[in-house]
C-alpha cells in the first residue's frame, strides 16, 4: 500500500535458510482488517508458520510488528509486538515490548523471519540495507556482551535485540532482550531465535514517518493530552513505575508465594519492599519512545553483597513478585534485582523461570526430589544463592537446570514421581495472578488467553472498585459498548469476569495493533480519541467501533492459529489443579479453592460473549461474517 501516513508501508521477509531477503508492500486488506502491530502479526504468522511442527523446527516463523502510531508523539505509542509458535505452550506465543520503533524508521512495519541459518548469524537492518552476517563471535555471549559488541561495531544508535545462553540452549522460558533491558519475555520466543541460529537483530533507520493530515493530527493530540495529563496518580507512576501497584496488589492478595501455596500478607509485603528503600537503589528512569511515564528504571545497588550492580529493569513489580515473593526472598531489593539482572543477561522470562525455581524448591522440600537430583544444591525458600545458581544452570542446561529448562509442562513429566501436581501452569505458562485471591478480569482471563497463562492485560478490574465506578469507566472509555453494558456490568462487583474479559481483550488488542502501551493511564483514553488520531495520521477513516471490529478479527485469528496447532479449549482453558483443589493461605484467611463449576460457567459466558460455540470452538459462519475465511482457507 502507499500510506498517507503512520505506516512505513513495507513488510521485510528474511529467510535464514536461503539467506534471501525481500521487501513487500504492506497489503491494504491487512491494514483494513487488523490495523497493524500485533493485529497484522497474527495473520502474517498464520501465513508464514508451517503448522503442526515443533516450535523449534525451521518451519516456525518469528514475526515482529510495529503499529501505525509508533514513532509519533502520541503518548505511550512505543510498543512493538512479536509472535511465533510458542515453545512454552505449543500454541500462539505473543509478547510485547517497547524498543523496536527503529524498525519503522528503517522503513518496515513488520519483519517476518523464517528458516534456519546453518551457522550462528545476526541480522543487520539499516534502512534499505539488510544483511545476514556471521554471528559466530557472538554465540555464547550473554545479552549484555552481545549488545555491547554490536553497539561497538555498528553504533550506539542501533536497537539490538538479542538472545542469551537460554535462547541458544532452547529453553522453554527464553526471552528476547532489547538494548539489555526491554524484553519480549513470555512464551519462550528467545529459543525460536536460538533454533534459527539467529543470535541478534540490530536495527537503525532514518526515514520519515509521514502524517496524512498534520493539523488535524496535532489538534487530536492536544485534545488527548489534555485528558491524559489531567489523570490522578500520574506523578506516582512517574516515580515508582509499576511499583505504584504494590500497596493495592498486596492488600488484594496478589503476591503469590512459595509456588502459589500462599499469598504474602499485605503488611509483610509492604514492609519488606519499602518504596523509600527502592528509591535508594533507583538511579533513574528509562522510557519507551514517546512515553511520558518512563516506568522502567536504571538500578544501582550501592551496598551489600551485590554492591555495584547496575542495569536497567523493565518491570520492577514483576521482578519483586518473582525474585521476591514467589521464591520467598522477602525484604531484599538487591536480591530481587540480582535475579532480574541475571534473567536479562541470560535472556529468560521472570515469571516462568521463577515458577520453575519455585516448583523445584517445593518438590525438594516435600521430598519428591533430593540433593542427588539437584546435583548437591540444597533448595529452600529464600536461599538466594542457590536460587541464582539454579537460574544459571537452567540457562546453560547444567545439572538439574537441564530438566527445568524444558518448561512447566515437560520438566514435571521428566521428573515424574507425582511432581506434576505441584506444577502451576496454564498452557505451559505460569500465571502472574492467583484467581483464588480474587476473581478479576486479570486473574480470570489467564484461563482463556490464547497464548497461555498470562492475563490479557492489567485493567480497571484488578482492584475492587467503589459502587458506580465501573459504569463511570464505561462511560469514559466506551467499554463495554452501550449495548453490552447491562449484561457485562453486573454482579456483586459490578462486572462479569467472563463477559468483561472479551471487551478488555478487544480493547487491549486495539492498543497492541496501534502500538500503544497497555498501562492503565493509556487505557483511560476513550477509543474514539485513538480512532481520530489514527484517521488523521493515516488518512484512513475509522471510529471506535471500527477499531473494536478489527480487534475482534485479531482475537479470532489468534484462536484459529492455536486451534490449527491442536488447542482443545475444553481441556486447556482451565485453571491449574492447585487453584481448584487447595485453598490459598493469605494471612489468617483461607481463600478458595476455586469452584470448578463456577469457573466453567464463566468460561462459557466468555465464549458466548465472543459468539463462539459452548466448547470454545469458533463457528464457521462467524469466520465468514468477520471475513476471515479468505485468510484461513480450509483450516
Amino acid at each position: 500500500m502507499e500510506p498517507g501516513g503512520g505506516y512505513a508501508g513495507n513488510v521485510l521477509y528474511v529467510d535464514l535458510g536461503t539467506g534471501r531477503t525481500r521487501r513487500e508492500p504492506l497489503r491494504e486488506e491487512l491494514v483494513k482488517d487488523f490495523i497493524g502491530g500485533a493485529g497484522i502479526n497474527a495473520q502474517l504468522a498464520y501465513e508464514a508458520i508451517r503448522p503442526a511442527r515443533s516450535p523449534l523446527d525451521p518451519g516456525n516463523a518469528l514475526v515482529f510488528g510495529v503499529g501505525p502510531l509508533v514513532g509519533t508523539l502520541v503518548p505511550g505509542a512505543g510498543k512493538s509486538c512479536s509472535l511465533a509458535k510458542s515453545p512454552a505452550s505449543g500454541k500462539i506465543g505473543a509478547s510485547i515490548t517497547g524498543s523496536l520503533a527503529s524498525l519503522k524508521f528503517a522503513g518496515y512495519d513488520h519483519l517476518v523471519i523464517t528458516g534456519k541459518a546453518e551457522d550462528p548469524v545476526y541480522l543487520e537492518i539499516h534502512n534499505d540495507e539488510v544483511r545476514i552476517k556471521d554471528g559466530a563471535h557472538l554465540w555464547g555471549k550473554d545479552t549484555f556482551g552481545t549488545t555491547d559488541d554490536l553497539w561497538g561495531k555498528l553504533g550506539n544508535e542501533y536497537t539490538v535485540l538479542s538472545i542469551g545462553p537460554a535462547g541458544e540452549n532452547l529453553n522453554a522460558n527464553a526471552s528476547i532482550v532489547a538494548d539489555k533491558y526491554s524484553c519480549f519475555s513470555r512464551g519462550g520466543l528467545g529459543s525460536v531465535m536460538g533454533s534459527k541460529n539467529l543470535k541478534a537483530i540490530a536495527v537503525y533507520g532514518s526515514q520519515d514517518i509521514r502524517v496524512a493530515h498534520p493539523n488535524r493530527f496535532m489538534k487530536a493530540l492536544n485534545t488527548l493530552n489534555e485528558t491524559f495529563f489531567s489523570q490522578r496518580l500520574l506523578k506516582e507512576w512517574r516515580i515508582y513505575g509499576t511499583l505504584v501497584s504494590l500497596q493495592p496488589m498486596a492488600k488484594t492478595g496478589l503476591y503469590p508465594s512459595k509456588n502459589y501455596q500462599e499469598a504474602v500478607k499485605a503488611e509483610e509485603m509492604i514492609r519488606s519492599f519499602d518504596l523509600e528503600r527502592f528509591l535508594e537503589v533507583k538511579a533513574g528512569d528509562v522510557a519507551c519512545i514517546s512515553c511520558p511515564i518512563g516506568c522502567k528504571h536504571r538500578i544501582h545497588v550501592k551496598e551489600g553483597k551485590h554492591a555495584g550492580l547496575q542495569f536497567s529493569v523493565g518491570c520492577a513489580n514483576a521482578a519483586m513478585q518473582t525474585w521476591g515473593s514467589y521464591c520467598g526472598c522477602m525484604g531484599f531489593w538487591d536480591v530481587v534485582f540480582k535475579g532480574a539482572e541475571l534473567c536479562n543477561r541470560l535472556g529468560m522470562d521472570f515469571y516462568d523461570t521463577s515458577a520453575l525455581v519455585s516448583w523445584a524448591i517445593e518438590i525438594y522440600q516435600k521430598g519428591v526430589i533430593d540433593s542427588k537430583d539437584t546435583h548437591g544444591i540444597e533448595l529452600d525458600w529464600g536461599k538466594a544463592d542457590e536460587i541464582q545458581t539454579l537460574i544459571q544452570q537452567m540457562a546453560f542446561r547444567q545439572g538439574f537446570g537441564d530438566i527445568l529448562a524444558n518448561g512447566l509442562i515437560e520438566a514435571p513429566k521428566t521428573v515424574g514421581r507425582g511432581s506434576e501436581k505441584y506444577a502451576v501452569q496454564i498452557k505451559g505458562m505460569a500465571p502472574p495472578f492467583d484467581a483464588r485471591a480474587r476473581i478479576s478480569s486479570e486473574s480470570f482471563s489467564q484461563f482463556i488467553c490464547s497464548r497461555g497463562g498470562h492475563s490479557v492485560g492489567v485493567t480497571v478490574t484488578m482492584m475492587p472498585r467503589r459502587p458506580g465506578q465501573m459504569r463511570r469507566f464505561a462511560e469514559r472509555t466506551g467499554l463495554p459498548p452501550e449495548d453490552a453494558v447491562e449484561r457485562v456490568l453486573t454482579g456483586p462487583e459490578e462486572f462479569h469476569p467472563g463477559r468483561i474479559s472479551r471487551w478488555f481483550e478487544d480493547n487491549l488488542a486495539v492498543l497492541d495493533a496501534l502500538g500503544i502501551c497497555q498501562f492503565p493511564p493509556f487505557q483511560q483514553v476513550n477509543l474514539s480519541s485513538y480512532a481520530e488520531l489514527y484517521s488523521a495520521l493515516t488518512g484512513l477513516e475509522t471510529d471506535d467501533q471500527g477499531l473494536l471490529k478489527a480487534a475482534e478479527k485479531v482475537s479470532n485469528m489468534r484462536k484459529a492459529f492455536s486451534a490449527r496447532e491442536g488447542l482443545s479449549s475444553a481441556r486447556e482453558d482451565v485453571p491449574p489443579r492447585r487453584f481448584v483443589s487447595e485453598a490459598l493461605k493469605f494471612g489468617e484467611e483461607r481463600r478458595g479453592p476455586l469452584d470448578e463449576k463456577y469457573i466453567r460457567e464463566l468460561v462459557g459466558d466468555y465464549y458466548d460473549e465472543r459468539g463462539w460455540n459452548p466448547d470454545g470452538s469458533v463457528k464457521d459462519d462467524r469466520i465468514e461474517m468477520l471475513g476471515l475465511d479468505k485468510y484461513l482457507g480450509g483450516a
Binding site: 514513532g71 509519533t72 508523539l73 512505543g78 524508521f105 555491547d148 553497539w151 561497538g152 550506539n156 544508535e157 538494548d179 539489555k180 533491558y181 533507520g205 532514518s206 526515514q207 520519515d208 514517518i209 509521514r210 502524517v211 498534520p214 512517574r238 533513574g284 528512569d285 528509562v286 522510557a287 519507551c288 519512545i289 514517546s290 512515553c291 511520558p292 511515564i293 518512563g294 536504571r298 547496575q310 536497567s312
Partner: protein
Amino acid sequence: MAIPMVIAQENCSGCLSCALACSFFNTPERVFNPARAYVRIERREGQNRFVVSYLDECLECGVCVERCNYGVLADGNSV
C-alpha cells in the same frame, strides 16, 4: 522564542519526545524523524544513559522543551 537548555541530562529517559517534536514542527512536510531533529539524544556506550545535544542549526523554537516530561530541558529565558 525559547533558548533550549539542558539542565539535568542525568534525567534523560531516552523517550525521544523532544526529537520527535523537533522533526514534526521544523520539517516542511511535518514528518516524525529523530534523524532530522536539531536535538540529538545519544546513548552512552554500555548503558541506557543518554547525552543530549543541539546542532548549530537549532531554531530555538522551544517545542523540545515543551515536550520534555523528565525535567531535562528548560527555556534559557526563564532559568
